[in-house]
């Protein structure tokens, strides 16, 4: 079942949706919730969708919705075509919404005195959203218990009580008036046990914390901001320094400074902020200071589509910076994968002493999904800091010149040491340098040092994961994707199974260094379909660059709105028929 809540910005669409999602999760239902909004505080149509089902049913949103909570007439106009058969619309009877027109389309119209209930039962029309949620509970038979719990947490005691009266009154009236008309039901599933409900940004931030990240400096930029916010909200006893900086240049510089001092550090931004960080990312690569950088992508160029989801930055992060330097690029595909990619990113950054860039996007960063409480298991987290000089070894004195920060090694990795250690005094520089770290423009220093840095990427292949296959091992059609389109493609693979379509999926999480196993995996497929949310098919470009394989069948989308799983099915079903 899918529910859509729509209204103007400022009408509480997101808070209603978020509260409802949490109530459903606590009732043991699986939820996938995503919102569609604009870069303005008030006005403009916003909507929130909640897909509800069993735990395994919630990998992405779906195209059609069964119930709509319309806070504006515009909501009905914009979304009525997306109502599923037997669907219904709940709205305040004072709104200029034509019930007959809705019914003429074969849907249910549920005009209710939502504002009136809010006014009468709670004393203010402000609680109209609460009345709408109560009505949604009433029409679906969903018990209001967990909704009441969430309401109590979200409001002060006095206001919460008023809201609860409104919610119950609306639920009761809806049951009485329309209880028998709507056939889609929502029942609590108590045997589910405790569930988690979180977004990709939270999963990443939590993964970073568990990975030992103790420093984040960032400048607010949608859709990355909540990573900084979440880390800042963590109890100070965890000792995580969080810094909202004056700009993105300061953000990356502080993270690199902190990492040089010896802590695990990160920054998070979106494409525009990343553009400002580019020079300092090259500095981190040159000085071999580990750093993790999240690019939560949105539509570009320039300010682009601030609140919309796209994947336009893959080629940017693969190529950003002047000069040539090693980097590692990862892209989690789901909220669950954000956690694992987070702790892997910190290990890889320290093991290979280079920038690790993580690509997410607006959809992945913000969508909420339920997971069982034992998911995001810390027991699986590996903590590997790579080569670090122990405090008491190395050399007897700091000025005997024996510690060489950039010692030429076979694997390209030179043991790091941190300020404060009396045995390893050294400086690092943005210039090309000697093994001891002193500035040098000599070709005899340049070439071995360049080779050493670039050699790290060869060594890193040992820790790079090849693309993974989901669905049947062998299929007529293989989707190829990276990042958040995984959630949609994965769901499409499930839908295909039910419809007798032979479809599987090849997902890249590790994009650079380009995984050794990728070429064989691509060659094993009979027909490849590239699915990306950008104009140029950037993974396709990368694959062709690295393997010579050109994927000619492409589903590309750059309108800032994500694919629906059914879009993929339509495409491949059409392709199959053709």
């Amino acid at each position: 079942m899918s529910i859509l809540i729509g209204g103007d910005a400022g009408q509480g669409v997101e808070s209603s949706g978020g509260g409802f999602a949490l109530a459903l999760a606590r009732a043991g239902l699986g939820v996938f919730a995503t919102q569609d909004y604009r870069s303005q505080i008030r006005g403009g149509h916003n909507f929130y969708t909640l897909r509800i089902g069993s735990e395994h049913d919630v990998r992405s949103q779906e195209r059609q919705h069964h119930l709509m909570l319309a806070f504006t007439p515009e909501t009905v106009e914009m979304h009525i075509d997306a109502l599923a058969e037997g669907g219904g619309v709940i709205y305040d009877e004072r709104l200029k919404i034509d019930a007959d027109a809705i019914r003429a389309r074969g849907f249910h119209a549920f005009p209710l005195p939502l504002g009136g209930i809010a006014q009468e039962a709670g004393g203010s029309r402000v609680m109209i959203n609460t009345a709408a949620l109560g009505a949604a509970a009433g029409i679906t038979g969903f018990p209001t218990t967990t909704m009441e719990e969430v309401t109590r947490e979200n409001f002060g005691a006095e206001i919460a009580e008023k809201n609860l009266v409104v919610m119950r009154a609306a639920a009761e009236m809806t049951r009485e008036r329309h209880g028998e008309e709507f056939r889609h039901r929502l029942a609590a599933v108590p045997e589910t046990g405790q569930q988690l409900l979180l977004a990709g940004n939270q999963a990443f931030a939590y993964g970073a914390l568990v990975a030992g990240c103790r420093f984040i400096s960032a400048y607010p930029m949608t859709p990355a901001t909540t990573i900084l916010e979440w880390m800042t909200a963590v109890d100070p006893s965890f000792g995580v320094v969080t810094k909202h900086t004056e700009d993105e240049i300061a953000a990356i510089a502080m993270a690199v400074g902190a990492s040089f001092a010896g802590t695990r550090a990160m920054t998070a931004t979106s494409g525009g902020g990343l553009a400002l960080m580019v020079e300092a990312i090259g500095f981190a690569a040159m000085t071999e200071v580990p750093v993790v950088i999240v690019d939560a992508q949105r539509g570009g160029p320039s300010t682009g589509l601030p609140t919309r989801s796209e994947q336009p930055d893959l080629q940017f992060v693969l190529n950003l910076g002047h000069g040539e330097f090693p980097r590692i690029v990862l892209a989690p595909g789901s909220i669950g994968q954000c956690f694992e990619v987070a702790w892997r990113a910190f290990n890889l950054a320290e093991q290979y002493q280079c920038p690790v860039m993580v690509l997410t996007d607006s959809y992945l960063a913000s969508a909420l999904r339920t997971y069982p409480a034992d998911y995001f298991d810390t027991a699986e987290v590996v903590f590997n800091r790579g080569k670090i000089v122990a405090g008491d070894v190395a050399t007897p004195s700091g000025n005997d010149g024996l510690y060489q920060r950039y010692e030429i090694t076979g694997d390209g990795i030179s043991p790091r040491a941190f300020p404060g250690n009396p045995h390893t005094i050294h400086s690092v520089t943005s210039d090309e340098h000697t093994e001891a770290g002193h500035i040098s423009e000599d070709a005899d220093d340049r070439v071995p040092m360049m080779d050493k840095r670039m050699r790290k990427l060869v060594t890193a292949q040992a820790d790079i994961q090849p693309p993974r296959v989901f669905g049947p091992d062998v299929a007529d059609i293989t989707l190829v994707c990276w990042g958040s389109t995984y959630m949609i493609c994965r769901e499409a693979v499930e839908l295909a199974t039910g419809r007798g379509i032979s479809l599987n999926l090849l997902q890249f999480t590790d994009l650079w260094p380009f995984p050794d196993g990728a070429e064989a995996a691509l060659n094993a497929a009979s027909r490849l379909v590239l699915v990306e949310q950008n104009f140029t098919g950037q993974l396709g470009q990368l694959i062709r660059q690295e393997t010579g394989i050109e994927i000619t069948e492409r589903m590309l989308k750059y309108d800032g709105r994500v694919f629906n799983p059914e879009d993929i099915i339509d495409h491949v079903a059409g392709a199959t028929v053709a």
Binding site: L196, Y206, L209, F215, I249, A255, G262, N399, S427, V428
Partner: protein
């Protein structure tokens, strides 16, 4: 470190392995000696110091002495240094950069570091010209200054750096002279001792590309500010930090009394945690049950 060990620290311990590439007579020599002298005076050992620099002749300083060093990007040493300081507040962090770095390309960081007040000492080698790029005007070049990018004379007003940091909230504002390295060492040492951001603007002649603002030019105009009259009164300090031209005050121009709280002192994560970020990562255990408890509490 014990007092006895501290007493054994002298300036020779900071001797580097690389010979400076500065021009003969360059003011940077004076700054290098002053930085080393200040550290020796305070009994700070080389491994306890991190010197962060920008880009320019003077920013090569860490290459020419023994201490932890980070030669960073043009204009960016302040945020690099702030990151290191917040990660390990036990380090003595000194930033050395130039007028192009601090007052030009990195001006935004200067303002925000001054108001933020991390315990960082900031020495700006202000030669009023771009030397490493061979002679263009800088943010502190006088109106009318003739250079390769201002052949008809600069048509911009010069920044008065001490006024800028004072107005931005700095708690320690001073001006030194590279031609008087002992006085400069003392100003730097007091800046290190000052809890919080300390700005030391240094008149530092570029003997090759600035034929106007020479040692003699500065000597004729510089005068020792009367510290005995008090340095913490903001109204009187406002006159001193703005003064420039025929009379240029040297020495400590302003120091907040009592000092403003530092950023580190106010940051809960540094005050309430058992370990600073560097120790926190070093001692980290991902399987610590606190993480699982946090997950269940925050996400359900």
């Amino acid at each position: 470190m014990t007092t006895e060990t501290r007493e054994r620290i002298d300036i020779s311990m900071f001797e580097g392995h690389v010979k400076p590439t500065w021009c003969p007579g360059c003011g940077d020599f004076g700054v290098l000696n002053a930085v080393k002298g200040a550290l020796a005076e305070l009994g700070i050992a080389p491994h306890e110091v991190l010197i962060v620099t920008g880009i320019g002749c003077g920013s090569k300083l860490p290459d020419y002495m023994l201490a932890y060093g980070m030669l960073t990007l043009h204009g960016r040493p302040l945020p690099f240094a702030t990151g290191a300081k917040l990660a390990n507040p036990d380090l003595h962090v000194i930033v050395v950069d130039g007028d192009g770095d601090a007052y030009g390309i990195g001006g935004n960081h200067l303002i925000h570091t001054a108001r933020r007040n991390p315990d960082i000492t900031h020495v700006v080698e202000n030669n009023q010209v771009y030397g490493l790029t061979k002679g263009q005007y800088s943010p502190t070049s006088e109106h009318g200054y003739v250079s390769k990018t201002s052949p008809r004379g600069s048509i911009e007003q010069a920044i008065t750096p001490t006024a800028l940091t004072f107005a931005s909230g700095a708690g320690y504002v001073a001006r030194g002279f590279a031609g008087a390295p002992k006085d400069l060492a003392s100003l730097i040492a007091r800046g290190i001792e000052h809890p919080g951001y300390a700005h030391i603007d240094v008149l530092q002649p570029c003997t090759t590309f600035n034929k106007i603002n020479t040692y003699d030019w500065y000597r004729e105009r510089g005068y020792e500010s009367d510290e005995a009259a008090g340095v913490s009164d903001r109204t009187a300090a406002w006159d001193r930090v703005q003064q420039w031209g025929d009379q240029i005050p040297l020495g400590l121009l302003y120091e907040a009394d009592p000092p403003n709280p530092t950023y580190e002192q106010q940051m809960a994560a540094l005050q309430e945690a058992e370990m600073n970020p560097v120790a926190g990562t070093a001692e980290h255990d991902p399987q610590d049950p606190r993480y699982d408890a946090l997950k269940r509490r925050l996400f359900s």
